[in-house]
Amino acid sequence: MPPMLKQNAPVLEIENLVIDFQTPTGLFQAVRDISFRVDSNESVAIIGESGSGKSVTANAVLGLLDCPPGRIKSGDIRFRGKSLLSMPLRERRDLYGRGIAMVFQDPLTHLNPVYPVGWQIAEVCRIHGMPRREANEHALELMVRVGIVDPHKRFSAYPHQFSGGQRQRIMIAMAMAMQPDLLIADEPTTALDVTVQARILALLRRLQSETGMSLLMITHDLGVAADIADRVLVMQKGVLVEHGPVESVFRSPQHPYTRQLLTDRSEEYRSKKHEDGEMLLEISNLDIHYGAHHAVKDVGFTVARGEIVGIVGESGSGKSTVASTILKLREPSSGSILYRGKNIQSLSGLDLRGYKRAVQAVFQDPYSSLNPRMNVFRILSEAWTLHPDVLPREKWRARAEELMEMVGLNASDLEKFPGEFSGGQRQRIAIARALTLNPEVVVCDEAVSALDMTIQAQIITLLTRLRRELGLAYVFIAHDLTLVEKFADRVLVMKSGEIVEQGATADVFGAPKDDYTRRLIAASPVADPKLQAERRRTLQLA
């Protein structure tokens, strides 16, 4: 082969790939005739929602597909011009790790808990024939390269002794062990906080420029794609609907689906708050301890009728603890929560029942928030069995039907069980349940975090409409800053149990006073490649 040609040869080529899954209800085509290539030293991002086939594609490259039920029906996957599918298994296995490596979403489940991390990194080298001592030295070197502080000491530590971001660094070290030509990263930063995410993305970018490898990134986050990719591929329901250089796709998306993903929904999400909002909740000097751990420190804020109070912060900042205290699922160590001027800790009898009606919750995980053995009607009517004075029994069905229509579902769905609904629909049911007692405040604890982008947009639009129609107030807890910026009237920024800044959303995001708020805003990527590159530069300078 002439050298010129070899240089331009793509690292990975996927040609007319079709992947089927055999299900009890028939054949399901997860990937439908997709073709793309990844050139050397190039970053390609596959964007798509759950069920789009993006992970299936990546797993097919690495031979991680469960066959059966999965089956590569037709097409080819070529690595450096050689077909992976027709290659003998031995040769293929030799290639994995050495030529192609992968980083997964959840580093905790992909690291073996019973071996020290150094051992696990060195294992990759040993598998590919490196002597033990050399492998250990190489592992140490890799730990330095991925930015593990004090690697000599950390070499023999176990996975649970590392934070999520550090674990992801270790996964990356394992993937980089044999200097692969292609690194496939499947949602590598999805489980991480934004500031950690920014650092992991920076690490990937640095490693790529050092080694000249190619990067195939799978993500649902447009900001991440805008941050790291040279080219993007957009997948929907197994079809590659759009591909091209990152700038042109983000600036002028061609396919309606891509356009829908990139729509700026700021206007849609924003809703006017009622001006005459009376004070519903007044939280002051709230302190919560878990044993010796001081989870919430001196937190105070208010919630008025019809107001959306956003609480943002990274994991461990205490925002969910505050939520569960408002919901009376947890007792505060000290401080008070006043509901219409009365302390909720000392409520009893009718007042307590009134509070339990006025404050409702929507939780994060749509799969665990509905009892799988109750049909929707029973789920909704449960509240009325607990509060029989709200609604006479003969009106239950009519009200349940009304609620279903209010959240955008059919009245005929009442007899179905949660298992028959998708994640977004389940979250709608959870919202309907929260509305059964005509509440004043709904606490949304990461209520849209587990949902796909388009579903998330639908749920937020629904919440906005419900506030307009019913005058609801929301305590909206989220780690997604861009979402809170569009949706909330007021925002609190929490860091390790304390509120570092609070105020009107426009003020906090427009002119953040606290250093942490500034860092948080800078670290959350925006879905605009040009702007994101600029932000990155200023972040590096800072």
């Binding site: 009376k328 307590l352 053995r373 049909n375 509240a383 349940r433």
Partner: protein
């Protein structure tokens, strides 16, 4: 409406259907067997001693053979069904209900009560159950009710531990929190949310235990602390036949087969029930698969 649905579902699963028919026959025998065949079973016929199986010369009742006193094995099995099923069913139901309830309480209580229950269970588990049974039955006498109580106590720990472990997981789910936010009491949560989710697992264990308890009862009979002759149970028949196993295999074989078939039938029916009772498996199959892909 619901019952006909369940029947249609049962018809579709052939194995479970056969198991259900077998169990119905056994239960019917347990109810009317002693009245119909009580005489035949105790009748001593010296001309028909030690008849082998599959011999119709002495009449239908000797088709499965007879023992050294000339009593019909078939009739004894049919009569023994009442004691066997009664004791097994009674003790399984007792340990299921009591153990399940204690386990749920242990799982829901966040204080000392849960710990006390778990430690007591450890004590019961570490004490040899057969020894416990022997002591209790020696002191209280070998009344069938006492046998049921003793067998139930020795099987309690399994239910308590399983129920507790399941509750510990379920109580952290968001729908339990949602119910608490609405002001649901612990009792309401236990009945409405916990029991329906724990019950299928406990029923599976109960079905497996059914066989275990029948065998445990036969072990007690073997040691002379179980049901006393002239009353008869399948386990007792197996134990009595043991002495003649090399000359008259049918004495132990047929009651043993009856125990095995009952246990298998109970298991088949239990696993069918688990599938049939689970709405996520019955109706949500289509969506779940689409979501996985």
């Amino acid at each position: 409406m619901k019952l006909t649905n369940a029947f249609a579902l049962l018809r579709r699963d052939k194995l479970a259907f056969v198991a259900a028919i077998y169990l119905v026959v056994v239960v019917v025998l347990a109810i009317i067997g002693p009245e119909l065949f009580g005489k035949t079973a105790t009748a001593i016929n010296l001309r028909a001693r030690n008849l082998p199986s599959f011999d119709l010369n002495q009449g239908w009742e000797y088709y499965l053979g007879s023992d050294s006193l000339g009593r019909s094995v078939l009739a004894r099995i049919m009569v023994g069904a009442r004691n066997t099923i009664g004791i097994a069913f009674g003790s399984v139901i007792a340990s299921l209900c009591i153990g399940g309830a204690i386990g749920i309480v242990a799982g829901l209580s966040r204080g000392a009560l849960g710990n006390i229950i778990v430690r007591s269970v450890d004590v019961i588990m570490s004490f040899p159950s057969l020894l416990l049974a022997l002591i209790v039955l020696y002191v209280l006498g070998t009344d069938p009710v006492n046998i049921i109580v003793v067998l139930a106590i020795t099987r309690l720990p399994v239910y308590i531990r399983t129920a507790r472990a399941e509750v510990l997981e379920i109580r952290e789910r968001a729908f339990v929190s949602a119910a608490r936010v609405m002001g649901a009491s612990g009792f309401h949560i236990a009945i409405r949310h916990i029991v329906p989710l724990v019950l299928p697992t406990l029923l599976i264990i109960a079905a497996l235990d059914f066989a275990y308890v029948m065998l445990a009862e036969s072990a007690l009979s073997f040691l002379g602390m179980g049901v006393q002759p002239p009353d008869v149970t399948w386990g007792l028949m197996v134990a009595e036949g043991r002495a003649y196993i090399n000359v008259a295999w049918w004495l132990s074989f047929w009651p043993g087969l009856a125990i095995m078939l009952t246990a298998i039938a109970a298991n088949l029916l239990a696993s069918w029930f688990r599938l049939a009772a689970d709405p996520t498996l019955a109706a949500g199959r289509k969506l779940a698969d689409a979501a996985h892909a």
